[in-house]
Amino acid sequence: MKEKQMAVCYDSQACIKCFACVVNCSVENRARLQRERGTGVEKTMMEKLPHLNYLTIEKSESGVFPDVKSVAALKHCQHCEYPKCMDICPAEAISKEDTGAVLINRDKCVGCQSCIDACPYDVPVFDRETGKTYKCIMCNDRLEAGLPTACAEACPSVAIFCGTASDVRAEAKERAERYEKVFGKKFIVYGAEPVNSHVGSLSYMTIAAEENADPYMLPENPKSGVSIARNVIKIGGAAAIGAAAAGIAVHVSHWKKHKEDSVYHHKDEE
């Protein structure tokens, strides 16, 4: 499994914000519709299909003129080591592949949107028309065919790159170190190491200045309240049910022991 492990890295410092990746991702998904669902090319190019924009742009501002930080960040699935979406999916439609990609199986998805509730990064998007939920698939089909992800292929800069997980991590680390030297501030490779025990490491990592973690949506301690609560309730609930059953069992034996001298033991009526 380890040999096939791939990764993608988005370098926010080398990014020139041309959004070729965003457009190409959408185009590649339309191509998938053509290939796999037999939809006509023209039709796929006419429809909005916003749920197939697996990369979306989130712009944010902080500060006050002229000391303002303005960021147009790319939002995408992080492909967590411990995908919370996978854990919660009642249809078992989500899997973590050998490549590292976390996939929603479109045929299995029932559109319950539990993954949306569970994702610590608020990534999956539900489409009313198809009644299913979608998110970045790390171009798993392309990776398995020896091609780069659509976003990496599109990047005219050298900001999104993909390859084996170890290669990507090494390149990312080298870049982060260089940026630290040049700009004199801390740069992180978000996801190269486990972010926390909840999500683990990420197969789609991000290079960013630590001070920009917020606008680039790179929380230090991503947690899914829903996932945690759900697990607690399931375990607690199972325990409570078990305790109830055990209690009942005890009570039954208690009845059996004392039923003779019970007013409720209507022996003659049985």
Binding site: P90, A93, A229, R230, A240, I241
Partner: protein
């Protein structure tokens, strides 16, 4: 037994009808809900999905089954609400006679009342004797009844939010989702106790009343539910 042959009505026909329906609904809710709680119960969805997938040619049987479960779950909820309407109209005006509120005697403090109620309950379920003060329901039954009404309302509300989740904020949906699961767990615990005690010999008369006659003999009631006659 000293029986004057008189009967008292414990449950009206409407209540009996409603309770039977609730049982059906609960079975449906649980069966259709369990596959969504855990993949351990996917066999339910699969079984339901097989005939449908055979006709629709859908790719994944479990997925089809899950969709059916979800739809059935919601339909059940709608039916439950619909059948509840006459009940609510019929019963709410008579809420004073439900005998489901704690009724202290004159001058009795809460602590004393609760202690008395608990001891009375113990008398029935541990000592297997007749109670001294219990009315139609003992204190634990009263508490459980309100709890289950609350749980049912919570399940309906959270279920509605989940069904129409696109109308609500993601935050609210997340909370309601957790609430729905928690409510389910609580409901299962309640049902375990409820069904057990319902079929327990201690409640034989109650069972008969709920499912067959709707009535209990006055003589028996005086012994089992002295509080009714105080």
């Amino acid at each position: 037994m000293n029986d004057n042959g008189r009967q008292i009505t414990l449950f009206t026909n409407l209540q009996m009808w409603y309770h039977k329906h609730i049982i059906h609904y609960m079975i449906f809710f649980i069966l259709t809900g369990l596959p969504l709680v855990s993949p351990w119960f996917h066999w339910i969805a699969y079984a339901v999905g097989v005939p449908v997938a055979a006709f629709s040619g859908a790719a994944d049987i479990t997925s089809v089954g899950l969709q059916i479960c979800r739809a059935a779950h919601r339909i059940t909820a709608v039916l439950w609400i619909v059948t509840s309407i006459p009940i609510v109209f019929a019963m709410l005006p008579k809420i004073g006679r439900w005998d489901m509120t704690p009724r202290r005697r004159e001058g009795q403090g809460w602590v004393e009342y609760i202690k008395e109620g608990l001891i009375d309950t113990k008398r029935v379920y541990i000592d297997w004797q007749y109670p001294k003060y219990m009315g139609k329901y003992n204190l634990l039954q009263i508490a459980a009844a309100w709890a289950v009404i609350g749980i049912c309302l919570l399940m309906l509300a959270s279920g509605a939010v989940l069904w129409f989740r696109l109308w609500f904020s993601e935050g609210l949906v997340s909370v309601m989702r957790v609430a729905h699961l928690a409510g389910f767990m609580a409901m299962v615990v309640f049902l375990i106790f409820h069904v057990y005690f319902a079929i327990h010999p201690v409640n034989r008369a109650g069972y008969e009343a709920m499912f067959r006659t709707g009535k209990d003999s006055e003589a028996h009631a005086r012994k089992k539910h002295p509080g009714l006659f105080l």
